[in-house]
């Protein structure tokens, strides 16, 4: 659990982060979203003390983060910086091994961990381990950056716009990978982005920052349904709201009885994808199938449209 209590950061007279308080539950993803310059990065970097706050405290599992030296704290917290920040003079394997080496892990344990992470990220250790970062594609570099952050099995992972530089297809894949890994290891993740779409998709909770202030901190559905201010409403994007709301729900939760013609859609697909398919093919209903391929029922345009309306 991460408890941020009354955190403020001032540079000279400008207040960059202004009295922010929030609690991040263990094993969840909190997404910090806001326009550029709203203080997201600064807030994130105060958690691992790359930036020292002017006022307030941050507790990790109940302990003040100033109770250990900064470098020790940072070794225990994963950090994936904006634009991956790989060491250009070190190979992929050496990059991933950075924190385990700093922690003095045994050689065999380090090698095993590096291989494990590379395999997890679909990078063949034999082929990619000895390469230098400039010999990788953008998507591969990004994966190595995250693998490096995860190397020492941290409970907490800080990510600063980790997917910003990726093209849309690779970005979607990277987001799915991260969600899978988060489920698998139960890591608590704080992810900074300026993309509301990403925030809604990834976050268990979303923190909206504006000019250094935390203007709303809530579940995605709540943010969409009841934006705390006109700023949040703009950020959500009025015309996108219904679709974002649908993207939060799974098809299986919108199944109605009955049958329909055509190719079945999996129950795990998002309701937004189902509606898009319906609109695009001009049909009133789609059959739905479970993970085992058995029919579950159908989804209809009418049913989905009702779900896209603002919750009461």
């Amino acid at each position: 659990m991460i408890e941020i209590e009354g955190i403020t950061k001032r540079y000279d007279t400008t207040t960059v982060v202004d009295d922010v308080s929030m609690v991040i539950e263990p094993r969840t993803i909190a997404v910090i979203v806001g326009t550029s310059g709203s203080g997201k990065t600064t807030l994130l970097r105060m958690i691992n003390r790359l930036v020292e706050p002017t006022a307030g405290i941050i507790k990790l599992d109940g302990a003040d983060n100033r109770s250990v030296p900064g470098y020790e704290l940072r070794r225990s917290i994963g950090y994936a910086i904006q634009g991956h920040g790989l060491f250009p003079h070190r190979t992929v394997a050496q990059n991933i091994a950075t924190v385990p080496v700093l922690l003095g892990w045994e050689k065999n344990r380090i090698r095993a961990r590096v291989d494990e992470l590379m395999t997890l990220y679909q990078l063949d250790p034999q082929e990619f381990g000895p390469r230098y970062p400039h010999e990788l594609s953008g998507g591969q570099q990004q994966r190595v950056g995250v693998a490096r952050a995860l190397a020492a099995e941290p409970n907490v992972l800080l990510m600063d716009e980790p997917f910003g530089a990726l093209d849309p297809i690779i970005r979607t894949k990277a987001q799915e990978d991260l969600l899978a890994i988060q489920k698998r290891f139960g890591t608590t993740i704080i992810l900074v982005t300026h993309d509301m779409e990403e925030a809604v998709h990834m976050g268990d909770k979303i923190a909206v920052m504006d000019a250094g202030k935390l203007v709303q901190y809530a579940k995605p559905a709540e943010i969409l349904a009841n934006p705390a201010s006109s700023f949040v409403e703009t950020l959500v994007g009025a015309s996108e709201r219904p679709f974002r709301l649908l993207s939060l729900g799974r098809v299986r939760d919108a199944v109605e009885n009955g049958a329909a013609e055509g190719e079945a859609i999996p129950g795990d697909a998002s309701q937004r994808d189902a509606l898009a398919e319906l609109l695009w093919t001009g049909r009133p209903a789609l059959p739905v199938k479970g993970a085992d391929g058995k029919p579950l029922g159908r989804v209809t345009v009418d049913g989905l449209v009702k779900r896209a309306a603002r919750p009461a």
């Binding site: 940072r74 950090y79 910086i81 904006q82 920040g85 060491f87 003079h89 700093l102 230098y132």
Partner: protein
């Protein structure tokens, strides 16, 4: 087939033609200080060797002139250089009257210009071949071995410069090692002082401008003036600091030469350290801190390795500069190859000047090639991301 000219080849051929037909190949003098008489290639060499060299030079120049395959150009330049090197020795023997120990034969402008022309061709070919760093060092070693073999074989023994050497063999090596010690020692001292100073300048912004300005000003002081400026303080130290004189510290001699070279070396080392460290990608530094490196771990693990190629460039500048500048040390009794240069100037004995100048140039050249190779080897692996 359309005949096409090689741009650089036109220049090389023109230079070679001038040198072969119009400039003297060797100079003959009755003794080492009287004015010499010029001898063309045909006059300086025996009946068969003269026309042979002419033919080689003409063919090689034609190879250079037209667009020819690289390997052919390589062969042309190597054969021409080898022929020149061998036959200049033959000219020495041929022109020296038997039994005459006073007569002097030395290579003249034509020879040097031909060497220059075909070295240019060779350098051009090697550049276009895009050799790996190791291959370039191998070429250097091969050239050094070839020259060494020629020297040992005695093929050049009748040339004036080697007669000068024969008269001073002992002092040649003594001054040579003094020269190298002076150049390398002051470089080492500059690295030992300059690296930490550069790191300090990088970390403490307020220091940076001041230190670099002072070093810049030192760089602009002419060497003779700097020696002059050093005489008084070093003399004072020698007489007032116990043990200093015993260490060889005096107002003139090796000490001021060493200090002057050291001072000149500081700017390139410090400036390149600062530039190199400043060029370390922000993201790499940020990641290093974010991963939990201490300042020292970041310095040695990230900043330093990434700045290393740039720092090496500074060291290369210093080494080449020092090898040249160490010649001046002789002016204040500091020794080195400059001793022969200044003696030669004093005695108007050109060959004695060459005895000092040629090894100096060769050393600087070799140092440049070796360090360039090292820089390239360290830089390619660590290529910094451009994103």
């Amino acid at each position: 087939m359309k005949i096409r000219f090689d741009k650089l080849g036109v220049v090389i051929a023109a230079i070679a033609a001038y040198a072969a037909f119009l400039a003297p190949f060797a100079t003959f003098r009755a003794n080492r200080i009287v004015p010499g008489q010029a001898r063309s290639i045909l006059e300086a060499l025996p009946a068969t060797a003269g026309p042979l060299l002419m033919a080689i030079v003409i063919v090689a120049a034609l190879m250079a002139l037209f667009r020819t395959p690289l390997m052919l150009r390589l062969a042309a330049s190597v054969v021409a250089l080898a022929a020149l090197a061998l036959l200049v020795g033959v000219a020495g023997t041929f022109l020296t009257p038997a039994g005459n120990t006073l007569a002097r034969v030395s290579p003249a402008s034509g020879f040097w210009v031909l060497i220059f022309a075909f070295t240019l061709l060779l350098a051009d070919v090697l550049t276009r071949l895009n050799l790996s760093p190791w291959a370039r060092v191998a070429v250097l070693v091969a050239a050094a071995v070839a020259i060494g073999l020629l020297l040992v074989s005695g093929a050049w023994n009748d040339l004036s410069i080697l007669k000068e050497y024969a008269n001073r063999a002992d002092s040649f090596w003594a001054e040579g090692s003094k020269h190298v010690t002076l150049a390398l020692g002051s470089l080492l001292a500059a690295v030992v002082v300059g690296l930490p100073l550069g790191i300090l300048c990088h970390r403490v912004e307020r220091l940076r401008a001041g230190v670099l300005n002072v070093l810049n000003i030192i760089q602009t002081i002419p060497s003779i003036a700097l020696f002059g400026l050093l005489i008084a303080p070093l003399g004072w130290i020698a007489t007032h600091v116990p043990g200093a004189a015993a260490l060889g510290i005096r107002g003139i001699g090796t000490a001021p030469a060493f200090v002057a070279l050291f001072l000149y070396s500081l700017l390139p080392v410090v400036a390149n350290t600062v530039v190199g460290l400043a060029g370390v990608p922000r993201a790499a530094n940020d990641a290093a801190r974010g991963m939990g490196m201490t300042d020292r771990q970041r310095l040695f693990g990230v900043e330093f390795p990434l700045a290393f190629p740039v720092i090496l460039t500074g060291i290369r500048i210093v080494l080449v500069q020092n090898i040249g500048l160490a010649t001046i040390a002789a002016l204040i009794g500091g020794g080195g190859f400059g001793v022969f240069v200044f003696q030669g100037v004093g005695q108007t004995a050109m060959d004695l000047v060459l005895l000092g100048a040629v090894p100096t140039v060769a050393l600087a050249f070799a140092a440049a090639i070796i360090l360039d190779a090292v820089i390239e080897m360290t830089a390619t692996k660590r290529r910094v991301e451009t994103a």
